[in-house]
């Protein structure tokens, strides 16, 4: 019964989305404020209907209703409750439902938090979001309905959730990621609405900016969670694989980062407007492209959902309508957005433009690397793109990016005196070089790239500390009072940039100083890894709720001091017979110790054991979290809470 209610709600949501994409726009073009007014309530109705659908699917998982094909395919009665519920987004159909629900949620929030935005603008933005909803709901209802029944022969028990997904990290990773992907639809909708209106003023950027920042923060957390999950769950200790699906999430992140910076220029200087609009379109289109790549079967990946060319064709068609439509509109209207104000080659605008170019180059590198196998196939060649390609581009791009960040932050808008800029950087550089030299050599000597990366990360942090101090002093009311006067938007930027420095330091440390050993060990054996001694004490077996496990017991000491007791496992899941490696990790701020059971060797009780020492790996995710926190902090800036905007609503309402 719940399933029928859910199914019906999905149709209801589609009806609401159809109304939302039509009536408010008619209201705008016929100048009927009453019709425009309907945008908000329709967005809320859409969200309510989608929420009912989500609850209905969750309830079906809760009561183990295996007559529902999707439930039977992704859960079984032995699965613990938290995984039964997170199985809602454990497969293709349900994760689409989550996508659609979040999209409707973002639209509802836009409706709720746009009191200060003129009604015709809200009507356009929500109508565009309604159109995107229509596409997703049709996709679900026509090709991937999570509410399909398995009648009349339904299995008595389900097939189980993929054991890889039975993990706390995976309960929250997809929702965070999707919040980011879907959240960029708001920036996209603002961009298209702006193009429709043909007149973008600084207020436009001020409305679109916080939404973009939130979406970006969610995506940052989502990607970090995915990397963390891959690290501890796949059993290889890697944190990034340049897998097509990882790339699919990185592309909108890079473009979104560019968008955030370009929005800053549009807001402060009313410039780069066409560029900002284009970035908003690109960012959301890349989010859709990610969805296409994961679900169409075009590329293979460990994360790929069950593939179906019909679904791929639908998403591709949808992508063409959304991105193609928006780009046609852009082509027709962009020239109206050209600004007449200029800037000097040494100015904050110039450096931000450089930042944008670097970030877009990085996006293209990932896009090319991801699609190259496809191009190869079209030309009948087997091409495999591995990490050296990506690293070869990313390391120098990151170096240049940092070298642009510091002067960009130090510079004034419009024009900057080059000499004073150089002087300021020249004062900081020696400190960073000296500290970096010693910092990078602390663990053990590293190659020049490692030393340089640490120096740049320190340069970035020093520059931000220097900037905070200078700005706080500039108020001339005492240092502490001055600190309090700095805006939250500014603090958010400082935090996010320092997060990047932490991230880079973490990547550098783990890349150049990790130690990995794959060795044969039987209970009683001892292995040494640097100053650490790992003793394999014993091996036992136990039965979990839906798996059997072989578990090793290790104890680790450092120079004779006990450090950790570790229990790596090898699990065999009952329903799918999949074997999973559960690595044991002793996490620390400076280093992780990582033990994973590989394969049992011959007939003895010896195992291939992987023992890793991973310095600084936590900094990678810590850095990402700091970046996301910076985004969240920027969001609380005073100027977004102001109710009055400089623009006149009447002017916006009268254009046609």
């Amino acid at each position: 019964m719940a399933v029928e209610i859910g199914h019906l709600s999905l149709w209801l949501a589609l009806a609401a989305a159809l109304c939302l994409s039509v009536f408010p726009l008619i209201g705008v073009y016929r100048n009927l404020p009453a019709w425009q007014w309907y945008a908000r309530p329709l967005a809320w109705i859409q969200w309510l209907a989608m929420t009912v659908a989500m609850v209905a699917l969750g309830y079906s998982f809760y009561i183990n209703d295996f007559s529902v094909a999707y439930v039977a395919g992704h859960s079984n009665s032995a699965l613990p409750l938290e995984y039964r519920l997170s199985a809602i987004w454990g497969g293709h159909e349900g994760s689409l439902l989550l996508w659609g629900w979040m999209l409707s949620g973002w639209a509802a929030m836009v409706g709720l938090l746009s009191r200060s935005v003129p009604l015709p603008m809200v009507a356009r933005v929500l109508a565009v979001m309604g159109m995107i909803s229509v596409g997703f709901m049709l996709f679900m209802l026509l090709t991937s309905n999570p509410f399909d029944r398995n009648l009349p022969w339904f299995p008595l028990d389900g097939a189980d959730l993929n054991p890889l997904l039975q993990d706390p990290g995976l309960i929250i990773h997809p929702p965070m990621l999707y919040m980011g992907y879907v959240g960029f639809s708001v920036a996209f909708a603002f961009a298209v609405a702006g193009l429709l209106m043909g007149n973008l003023d600084p207020a436009w950027a001020r409305w679109a900016r916080p939404w973009t920042t939130v979406a970006w923060s969610f995506l940052t957390v989502g990607i970090a969670l995915g990397s963390w999950w891959a690290y501890y769950e796949l059993g290889w200790g890697g944190w990034w694989f340049w897998d097509p699906v990882e790339n699919a999430s990185l592309m909108p992140w890079l473009a979104g980062t560019a968008l955030i910076h370009s929005l800053a220029v549009s807001e402060k200087r009313n410039m780069f407007r066409a560029w900002t609009v284009l970035l908003a379109i690109i960012t959301f289109s890349l989010s859709l492209l990610g969805t296409f790549l994961v679900r169409s079967g075009v590329l293979t990946s460990v994360h790929a959902f069950a593939n179906d060319p019909a679904r791929g064709a639908f998403i591709l068609g949808f992508l063409i309508v959304v991105a193609g439509g928006a780009l046609v509109l852009f082509g027709l209207r962009a020239s109206a957005l050209r600004s007449n104000t200029g800037f000097k080659p040494v100015s904050r605008e110039a450096f931000l433009l450089g930042n944008n170019l670097i970030l877009l180059t990085a996006t293209s590198v990932v896009l090319m690397g991801t699609l190259f196998p496809l191009i190869g196939e079209a030309l009948d060649m087997k091409i495999s793109i591995r990490s050296p390609y990506f690293n070869g581009f990313f390391v120098p791009l990151a170096f240049v990016l940092i070298l642009l960040m510091v002067p960009g932050m130090f510079s004034n808008w419009k024009r900057q005196d080059g000499n004073s800029l150089l002087k300021r950087m020249a004062l900081l550089a020696p400190a960073a070089i000296i500290a970096g030299w010693f910092g990078a050599r602390l663990p053990d000597p590293s190659p020049w790239q490692g030393v340089l990366a640490i120096m740049l990360a320190l340069f970035l942090v020093f520059a931000h500390v220097d900037d905070v101090v200078r700005r706080a002093r500039a108020y001339k009311q005492g240092f502490v009072t001055g600190l309090g006067k700095l805006g939250r938007g500014y603090w958010g930027m400082v935090l996010a940039h320092c997060g990047l420095a932490v991230l880079i330091a973490g990547i550098t440390l783990v890349s150049f100083h990790e130690v990995e050993r794959d060795i044969r060990m039987a209970p009683g054996d001892t292995a040494k890894l640097g100053d650490y001694t790992f003793v394999f004490d014993s091996l036992d077996e136990y039965r979990g709720p839906n798996f059997d496990s072989t578990r090793g017991h290790f104890h680790v000491s450092h120079d004779g001091e006990p450090v950790a007791v570790m229990h790596p496992e090898k699990r065999t899941y009952h329903a799918s017979r999949q074997v999973m490696t559960e690595a044991a990790i002793d996490a620390g701020f400076w280093r992780d110790l990582y033990v994973a059971l590989g394969e049992p060797l011959d007939k003895s009780n010896a195992w291939a054991v992987r023992i890793y020492f991973k310095p600084g790996i936590r900094w990678i995710w810590l850095g990402a979290l700091i970046m996301a926190l910076g985004g969240a902090l920027a969001l609380t800036d005073k100027r977004y809470r102001r109710n009055r905007f400089a623009t006149n609503d009447a002017g916006a309402a009268n254009e046609s």
Binding site: G297, P309, L316, A323, L327, F330, A336, R577
Partner: protein, 185 residues
């Protein structure tokens, strides 16, 4: 209106190229058997039988049209398709079973309780043959011609519709259903 710079259409051109590329990739399904394997002989193997003392090799799959069905007791969909396999077997279709990554006592019990549609049951305990065949999961069914070559691969359950739409058109016309012809065990 200002003169329209053609550059503003550049992103659109780029996107169209991308869309064409994506559309070209759409027809292919990486989970479909790579076309390389269709028409090729079954990879060589030497595996024990589930029910007898025999050892089977790729030659055991030659000499007649037959199906090779990948199944396991842990696979719910295999339970669903089992009655249809019995029905096909009753109609004279030869079906070899590949018991995939399974526990042998459970597999024997399963066939004893539900009936055995298979002429041979090959045990692939560590999934090596499955790997060579590119098996993605159970159930999967391969159509094999008398020369021991793979003609078709179907992933997912075998049912009346799939049988009529995918398998029957590939069988020799007015020919006997697979299995008729040479000797049974």
């Amino acid at each position: 209106m200002k003169a329209n710079s053609p550059w503003v259409f550049l992103p659109l051109v780029g996107f169209v190229l991308l869309a064409v590329l994506l559309a070209s990739g759409l027809g292919r399904d990486p989970q479909e058997l790579p076309s390389a394997l269709v028409g090729k002989p079954v990879p060589s193997f030497s595996l024990p039988s589930l029910l007898t003392e025999e050892t089977y090799t790729e030659d055991s799959l030659k000499g007649r049209w037959q199906l090779l069905n990948v199944w396991a007791t842990w696979c719910p969909t295999c339970h669903v398709e089992h009655p249809y396999l019995l029905e096909l077997a009753a109609r004279g279709v030869a079906i070899s079973g590949l018991n995939y990554k399974d526990e042998l006592p459970a597999a024997r019990e399963y066939l004893a309780n539900l009936g055995n549609p298979f002429t041979h049951v090959i045990v692939d305990a560590d999934g090596q043959l499955g790997l060579d065949l590119g098996v993605y999961g159970a159930p999967e069914t391969f159509l094999i011609n008398p020369a021991g070559e793979i003609v078709l691969r179907h992933a997912g359950d075998l049912n009346a519709r799939v049988w009529e739409e995918k398998f029957v058109p590939l069988l020799p016309t007015q020919a006997p259903a697979p299995g008729q012809g040479e000797g049974e065990e």
